[in-house]
């Protein structure tokens, strides 16, 4: 079975703390994604990685950074957490599309981490 796991289901942090969210996939996928999900706003892409050490900004990268040192692991880092980063964070992975970059392949999502910043 395809599996994407996230390090925590629930996390509570204080303003100003450095926060690490970890995601691991066991499907040998090239692509990995971090989204945040807020009521009424849907899923918004924070960062995307298409290979080890390669990343691309999504729509809302401000206040976040990412790290991909190994193919199966993609980390989201909040350098200095703020209350407006309280949200549900979803990681996903997927195979790379055909040459030229367009994707035929679905994304597989992890269970999410609900982060609360006090």
């Amino acid at each position: 079975d395809v599996k994407v796991t996230q390090s925590s289901r629930y996390l509570v942090k204080r303003t100003g703390e450095k926060v690490f969210l970890e995601c691991v996939q066991d499907m040998d996928h090239e692509n990995m994604f971090w989204y945040r999900q807020d009521p009424g706003l849907g899923l918004r892409l924070i960062y995307f990685s298409y290979d080890v050490k390669m990343k691309e900004k999504g729509d809302i990268p401000e206040g976040y950074s990412v790290s991909r040192e190994k193919k199966e692991r993609f980390s989201l880092i909040l350098e200095s957490a703020s209350t407006n980063q309280t949200s549900m964070y979803l990681c996903a992975s997927g195979s790379a599309g055909l040459a030229g970059g367009n994707s035929y392949n679905e994304q597989f999502f992890g269970p999410g981490t609900r982060l609360t910043v006090l």
Binding site: Y35, G42, L43, D59, N102
Partner: protein, 112 residues
């Protein structure tokens, strides 16, 4: 810019039909549909590609109008298990990557 989904919410009785629409301001290469049940991760339903190819669910159908940059998801003879929030994810022709931009979601509730 996020695609716009309509309606925002739908309430159905079992056996009724529903249509969920997704509209983008960009020229699209593909549209993906996902369903998220309460407290769970989103799960893939379908991909519709420019040119008409589709891949996805047996009991749910969808269309993709490339000229209008719109897609519609058709849920016929709805079942209780169809309840959840439906998201479309769009891949713009200009991206040349595998990233998707998701809509704000349509919440579907099916009652007995």
């Amino acid at each position: 810019q996020q695609p716009v989904q309509s309606p925002q919410a739908v309430i159905l009785r079992e056996g009724e039909d529903a249509v969920i629409n997704c509209s983008s301001s960009k020229a699209l290469y593909s549209v993906h549909w996902y369903r998220q049940k309460h407290g769970e991760a989103p799960v893939f339903l379908m991909i519709l590609l420019k040119g008409g190819e589709q891949k996805g669910h047996e009991k749910i159908s969808a269309s993709f109008n490339e000229k209008k940059q719109q897609s519609s998801l058709y849920l016929t003879a709805s079942q209780l298990s169809y309840s959840g929030t439906y998201f479309c994810g769009t891949e713009a022709e200009s991206y040349n990557t595998d990233k998707l931009i998701f809509g704000t979601g349509t919440r579907l509730q099916v009652f007995p």
